[in-house]
Structure formats: C-alpha cells, structure tokens
C-alpha cells in the first residue's frame, strides 16, 4: 500500500463517519422534541456534511481518477464504506439514543481532530482545525443532554440506560486500526487511536458520572470490522435512501 492510497483510505473513513452520522441526525429534521433542538440537530448534521465534503474532496484528489466528492458519497456500496458501525445504528426515534450516539462518536472525533491539527499533511491539519470547533460544540451539546436525561426523571434515566446498553457494543470498534493507520502514524500524518483511548474514556466517564449512568461490564459482545467494510444491516438502508436520487437521476444537480 502506498502512502497515497493509505491517505485516501484514511480520508474516506472520516468522511464516511461524518456522512452517515449526518444522515442519522438529519432524520430528525422536523421531528425534534422542540423547535430549538430541531434546529440544533440539523445544525450538527450540516456541520458533519461540511466535514464529509472536505475529506471526500481530498480523497477524490488523492485518488486522481476524476471521481468527485459526490461520486464517493453516492456511488459506493456498503462493503466499500469504511465508517464505524456506531454511526449507522438506528435510534428508533428515541431522542436520548440519538444524543448518546453523537456524544460517544463526537468524543473520539474531538480527540482525533485535536491530534490531527498537528498532522504533517497540511490538508488534513487544515480540515481538522476547522472541524474541531464544530465537534467541540457537538460534545458539549450532546453531553449536556446525556446528563439531563440520565439525571432526569425515572423514565428518562431508564430509557437512556437502555440506550447505553444498546450502543456500548459499538464503542471498542471506534478504536480499531489496520495497515492504513500503521503506515500513516509512522509518517506523522495520522494519530494512533490507542493513544486516545484513555482520554476518550475520561470524557465519557465524566459525563456518565454526572448522568448517574454506569457502563456495561467489560467482556460483553463488541462489534468489529467497519474500517474493513463489515457493517450491520442498517447501513444498506441508509445508503438506499441517501443514494436513491443520484442513482435514479444521474444527471441531477444540486
């Protein structure tokens, strides 16, 4: 694998994560619990789409085969997507699950972008410097809701505790790496996710403590394989919805 191939793959990962999580958040547009939260969720979705565009564009440039950011977002199938399985998980219209999913992912995204601001690749460091401000807010907004729901009423505590049980099995996978990371970390372009794990746990523990939530016991089932194209059944449905228009109307512009 060349450095160029690895860098393209790395950008696709970030872009896929942002794009899929943005889709999940955008499903709430018009369905937020109150108007202000509806706007907040749409704002976060738009932030993520912006991040995805930046990294898809760079991946397309690195690939150099004339594909565009739209081709990468809308003309790849599930096995080609290298997003983490956490971001594709459905929330079944449970607001707490949606907030927890974004919180768990944003904590890692925040730490990763913070480290990537020092990447030796100038495009990566530039895109990361822009994204970190947005993601810092996502951590705050979603973390705030996790605390409110966890330390809220009996019902809200019970429901978000269930969300923790449902989503925790997708957290180990956030830190999975392969030869792409090995190569890029050595070159000072990427960050070794193992070095972020304790910081991630600290961020999560701090919010969980305030929220009176407990993490599931270690040793339970953990999902695996997103970065190698292995996904849960949900990604296919997301792509079907996301990709319908550009596939059915290849000449459509927006």
């Amino acid at each position: 694998m060349t450095l160029n191939d690895a860098l393209k793959e790395y950008c696709l990962r970030i872009a896929d994560n942002s794009s899929i999580l943005a889709h999940r958040l955008s499903e709430w547009s018009g369905h937020g619990p109150i108007l202000e939260e509806d706007i907040a969720m749409s704002n976060m979705a738009l932030d993520l789409i912006g991040q995805a565009r930046g990294f898809y564009s760079y991946a397309a440039t690195l690939e150099g085969k004339g594909r565009t950011e739209d081709d990468l977002a809308f003309r790849r199938d599930t096995r080609e997507f290298v997003s983490r399985n956490l971001v594709e998980q459905p929330d079944n219209k449970d607001f707490g699950t949606a907030m927890l999913r974004s919180f768990l992912y944003s904590c890692l995204s925040y730490l990763q972008f913070r480290a990537l601001m020092n990447s030796k690749d100038e495009t990566i460091s530039g895109l990361s410097a822009k994204a970190i401000k947005e993601v810092t807010y996502h951590v705050r907004h979603c973390g705030d809701w996790v605390v409110r729901l966890g330390d809220g009423t009996e019902e809200s505590h019970r429901r978000i505790s269930n969300s923790v049980e449902d989503l925790w099995m997708y957290t180990s996978e956030l830190f999975e790496q392969n030869e792409v990371d090995a190569l890029l970390v050595k070159e000072g372009v990427a960050v070794d996710l193992n070095t972020l794990k304790q910081d991630w746990l600290n961020l999560v523990d701090e919010i969980f403590a305030q929220a009176k939530l407990t993490k599931p016991a270690e040793g339970g089932y953990q999902s695996s394989g997103g970065i190698n194209g292995m996904h849960t059944e949900h990604l296919g449905y997301i792509l079907a919805e996301m990709q319908f228009l550009p596939r059915a109307y290849p000449d459509a512009i927006w």
Binding site: I34, L35, E36, E37, I39, A40, N43, H141, D144
Partner: protein
Amino acid sequence: MSDNNHQWPIWEVFIQPKNGSAHEHAGSVHAPDGEMALLNARDVYGRRLEGVNMWVVPATAIVASTPEDVGPFFDPANDKMYRWPNYFKTPEGIKQIS
C-alpha cells in the same frame, strides 16, 4: 418539563457584535434553564459570525413599560430642544466633536 406543561420558559437573547460594543437584542428561545438557553441561542442566533459574546435573560426578568406609558415616558422632550446636542452652536475653531 412536567407532563402537563410541555412549553419551556422563554429566554431573551442578546448578542455583542464586537468587543466593546453594546449587546443587542437578537430574539428569544425556549429552554428549561440558562445553560440550555445559551446552547439553544447559539444554535438559533449564533451561527453566522454574529458576535463575540452572548447573554440569555429569563423573559420574566424583564420589566417593560406599557403602551400607555408612551406619552409620559417619551413625549415630554418635544418642546425641549436643548436636550439634543445639535441644539447648541459649535464654537468657532473646533474642527471636530468626537
């Protein structure tokens, strides 16, 4: 948020456009407390480089004059032109009043 009241209190949002300038009223948001009012205000009014600082104030904390007050509050200055600075002649030799 109780079961029979799903409407959160209103907070008025004030944004300071730049350092040193006065906060200006931007609009209002719903929120159960100050922290969420601030987050909501950021999402509704603070996404387009509007300013450098933000206040949220419970709408109930604002004491407002009534429409009937408009006469006694604002009218008496009509015949007192000396309350405006441009009523006074500028002394000769002064190029600029800052």
